[in-house]
Symmetry: C2
Subunit: 245 residues, 2 copies
Amino acid sequence: MRETLGLIGFGAFGRLTARHLSPGFDILAHDPAASDDEGLATLTDLATAAACPTVVLAVPVEALEATLIAIGPLLRPDALVIDVGSVKVKPTQAMDALLPPGVQIVGTHPLFGPQSGKDGIAGLRIAVCKVRGARDARRVAAFCRRALRLKVFQVSPEDHDREAATVQGLTHLIARVLMAMEPLPTRMTTASFDRLMQAVDMVRHDSPAVFRAIERDNPFAAEVRERFFALAGEARGAIGDDRTG
Amino acid sequence: MRETLGLIGFGAFGRLTARHLSPGFDILAHDPAASDDEGLATLTDLATAAACPTVVLAVPVEALEATLIAIGPLLRPDALVIDVGSVKVKPTQAMDALLPPGVQIVGTHPLFGPQSGKDGIAGLRIAVCKVRGARDARRVAAFCRRALRLKVFQVSPEDHDREAATVQGLTHLIARVLMAMEPLPTRMTTASFDRLMQAVDMVRHDSPAVFRAIERDNPFAAEVRERFFALAGEARGAIGDDRTG
C-alpha cells in the first residue's frame, strides 16, 4: 500500500494538487464543501485526513488559522504539514505559532493555478520556505524538482512576499480593472493586447479569496499598489500636459 | 523593371514596411534623418519618392500634415497614397483635405510593430480604411491578404479609432506605468505576470511619438483612459474597504 497524504481543502487548487500528487500518494481529502472526489482522492472526515504522515493545507489564507486550530490535536506527533497559500509571511507565522511542537512545517507557494497549470505543471515555478525542519524543506524542494519537475526557489517568507507583492499584486490588480472594463475588443487586437488578455484569462477564475490574500494578506502589497496608482496618476498628468503643450 | 514605391519616412516602422514590400517593389525612400538604407530601399529626395505611382507615408502622426502639404505638388495626378498611422480619424481627414483631387487615398493601420513583427508578419492584423477610391481600398486589402498574408479588417476610421482607443490606449498606458516601476521581479514570476511583461516588451521601444499618437490623437482615447483610472480608483477603494472590513 502506498503512503497516504492528507489534503485539507478540495477547492480548485486542492484538486490541482490532488491531480499531481495522486500518482505518488493515496490522497485522503477533506472539504465540507466538496461532494465529488473526481477520482483523484478519497473524500473523508477531518480527523482521517489530518492523521496522515504528510498533510497539505489547500484552504484559503483567510481560513488557515481556524484550520490550524482544528487540526492541531488530530496530527501525528511527527507529521509534516505543508501549506500552499499565495502569501507566506502570515501563514508561516501562524503555522509556527499554532501547530504542536514536534510537527515539521514547510511553507510553499506554487506560482501557478488551475488555469496556468491546465496543460501540465512541468517547468512552472514554486517557492519553498523552511519553517520547522530544514531537512523537510530540502526534501519537499527535491520532490518538487524531481517528481513534479518544477523550478524551485528556496526563499524566506519575507523575500517571497516582497517579490509576490509585485508579481501577483500587479497582475491581479490590472486584471481586475480590465475585467471591469469588459466587454473588450477581440477583433482588431495587437499581439501586445493579446498578451495582456492572456494574463487576465489566467487569473480570471481565481476566487475572491485568492485576490484578498494577494492584496490584503501580503504585508508588502499595499506599498506596491500605492506606487502603481501614483505612477498611473503621473502618466495621466503627463498625457494631459501633452494635450495642452 | 519593377514598379517603384515611394516611402516617406524611414524610421523603425518605415524599415519594417520596406522589409516586407521590397520583394514586390523597388522602394525609393525619403527620410532626412536616415543615413543607411540597410539594403531595403534607395534613399532619395522627397520629390523622387513622392513621384512614384504608390506613396506610403510612414511618418509620425504629428508630422503627417506638414508631410501632406510638402508632397501635394510632387505627387502624380493619379497617385495612390497610403498612410500607416496608429490612429485613423485625423490622418484620413487630413489626407482628404490636403491632397490634390485626383489622388486616391487609403488609410491603413498595421496592428503590429518592429517588435511584434520581428519573426514575420503573416497572420498578424491590419485595418484598412477607404478614403478616396473604393477600388483602391479593395486592392490594398487584397494585397495585404494575399502578398503579406495579413488578417485584414476593412473598417471606417471611426470604428477603427474606437476599438484602438482600448486596444492600444490601455496597452501603452499599462506598459508605461509598469516600465516606470522597473526593475521588476524576474525570478519567482507567474505565467500571468510573464504574459504581462511580454506585452510590455512588445511596446517598450515604441517611440514617444507613437505613444502620443495613441493617447492624444485618437479622439476616443481620453474617454477609455478616464474609465480605466476611475475603475482603478474603485478597485483601490474596494481593497481598502476589505482591510477595515
